[in-house]
């Protein structure tokens, strides 16, 4: 059946059957390759995207359930050539090692900050608990999200709070 999704602000359509997952449509039909398939079982979070502003694992979301809804991937964060504040904070805080988990981490962080602009470190860790980094660089990732929150709130715009 035909499904229609607003993807990164643009109306898109695709064919979906009972086996089609959201990640299949995003990667194979729309070419959004930031959406990574790690475990394929909703456990690693590499495939995290926003569905109506909520973080979901696109590998365990039936594509048909996205019909008529809004999906945001990392490709949709950049505006007018400017990186999203979370993306920039990840770069500035050196929160990236191999990079495979990074898009999922950023989308989980985006969902958190949309809901809670001033999260505590514990709240950040909890929001990212479903995202696995095999390089195990969690400290800088948590710092980057805190830094992004600070920059969005304007309270730490000149400093990188997570840096030693």
């Amino acid at each position: 059946m035909k499904i229609e999704i607003i993807v990164n602000g643009r109306a898109r359509s695709a064919e979906a059957n009972a086996k089609t997952r959201l990640i299949d449509v995003l990667r194979n039909d729309f070419g959004l390759l930031s959406v990574k398939e790690g475990c394929g079982a909703g456990e690693c979070g590499a495939c995290t995207v926003l569905l109506d502003k909520m973080a979901v694992c696109s590998c365990v979301t039936p594509a048909v359930q996205a019909d008529g809804h809004e999906v945001t991937t990392v490709e949709g964060l950049e505006e007018n050539g400017e990186l999203d504040v979370i993306q920039q904070a990840f770069i500035d805080c050196d929160a990236i090692q191999c990079g495979f988990c990074t898009p999922g981490m950023i989308m989980s962080a985006k969902a958190l900050l949309l809901k809670n602009p001033s999260p505590s470190k514990e709240e950040i860790k909890s929001a990212l608990a479903g995202n696995v980094c095999r390089c195990t660089g969690y400290i800088k990732i948590v710092d980057a999200v805190a830094e992004a929150a600070a920059r969005m709130g304007g309270s730490a715009s000149d400093g990188i709070v997570g840096r030693p």
């Binding site: 059946m1 979906a16 059957n17 009972a18 086996k19 997952r21 394929g40 079982a41 909703g42 456990e43 979070g45 995290t48 569905l51 909520m54 973080a55 979901v56 694992c57 590998c59 365990v60 979301t61 039936p62 048909v64 359930q65 019909d67 989980s108 969902a111 909890s126 929001a127 608990a129 479903g130 995202n131």
Partner: protein, 286 residues
């Protein structure tokens, strides 16, 4: 290829199910377990019904002295609901501790119960709260205790193939408190190695009329009546509770390799759950 239908109402869903004689019916709720388990095995006999557009399966509301939760409500929605927090705290605990944020945003309470994993978190919480499952099919409807939906076979429920869980109804009992806890390999995003839920009336420092259910012991919700009797003793004397639970585990999973671990773990878990229960009885946040 399996067929896929997206009914917009319960009537439409039941009509479509009625036309599916001889086919393998799949009810697709949040999909977080279903896709992993069934996607590789779908064939032309499979008739898949996506439940996400059936409005009658949504909603969390209080009516006639009961909290009714639509079967398609997500873990996130339940965990954040104030009515549920007031009258079904154990269920909110379970919903908030299940999986990751991403999974809680999609996984539904109906799917969690129907999937019937022994390690599922909501069944024992629902059972402790005397929840009833409302079930309909093209030809009948019935309401049964949630534990009757479960079976002693992993990931199998007792429902007929054409039956749909529409809601769970939890009686609101004044003076009762409830709590849920779990033990797993991680502090978050953890599949339960052991979980437990308790509801009880708090009266002058005692917990009476308790319902104690544990999961992962050969069922997603197994009742421990000896623990309920032990809880009726003063709330600060949990020795009887611990002893009752050890015997309960021995009887539930004799000879299993995890027996020794679970005999030990259930005592600590019971103390955690009882402490949370006592805090709530005192009106403190827990």
């Amino acid at each position: 290829m399996a067929s896929l239908a997206v009914p917009k109402s319960l009537d439409e869903l039941l009509s479509l199910i009625a036309e599916c004689k001889g086919r393998r019916i799949h009810l697709l709720a949040g999909g977080t377990d279903w896709l992993i388990t069934h996607r590789p095995h779908l064939d032309e006999r499979s008739a898949v019904f996506d439940l996400s557009r059936v409005n009658e399966l949504r909603g969390i509301r209080i009516s006639k002295g009961a909290l009714t939760i639509g079967s398609m409500e997500t873990m996130s929605a339940i965990a954040a609901n104030r009515d549920a927090a007031r009258s079904a705290a154990a269920l909110c605990d379970a919903a908030s501790m299940m999986g990751s944020v991403q999974i809680r945003n999609r996984a539904t309470i109906g799917g969690n119960v129907a999937n019937a994993s022994f390690a599922a978190d909501t069944p024992c919480a629902l059972a402790s709260l005397c929840a009833q499952a409302v079930i309909v099919s093209p030809s009948s409807s019935r309401t049964i205790p949630v534990e009757s939906v479960l079976s002693r076979v992993p990931n199998e429920n007792s429902l007929n193939e054409d039956e749909v869980i529409t809601a769970f109804v939890i009686p609101i009992k004044e003076g009762y408190v409830s709590a849920f806890g779990k033990v797993g390999s991680r502090s978050e995003v953890s599949i339960a190695r052991l979980n437990m839920a308790v509801s009880a009336r708090h009266d002058n420092g005692c917990f009476t009329d308790a319902r104690v259910y544990a999961g992962t012991l050969g069922s997603a919700a197994l009742r421990c009546e000896a623990a309920e009797r032990a809880l009726a003793l003063r709330e600060d004397g949990f020795e009887g509770l611990r002893g009752a639970l050890v015997e309960f585990v021995e009887a539930a999973i004799p000879g299993r390799h995890s027996l020794q671990y679970k005999k030990s773990a259930i005592q600590g878990l019971a103390l955690d759950v009882a402490a949370k229960l006592a805090q709530r009885a005192r009106g403190e946040n827990a």
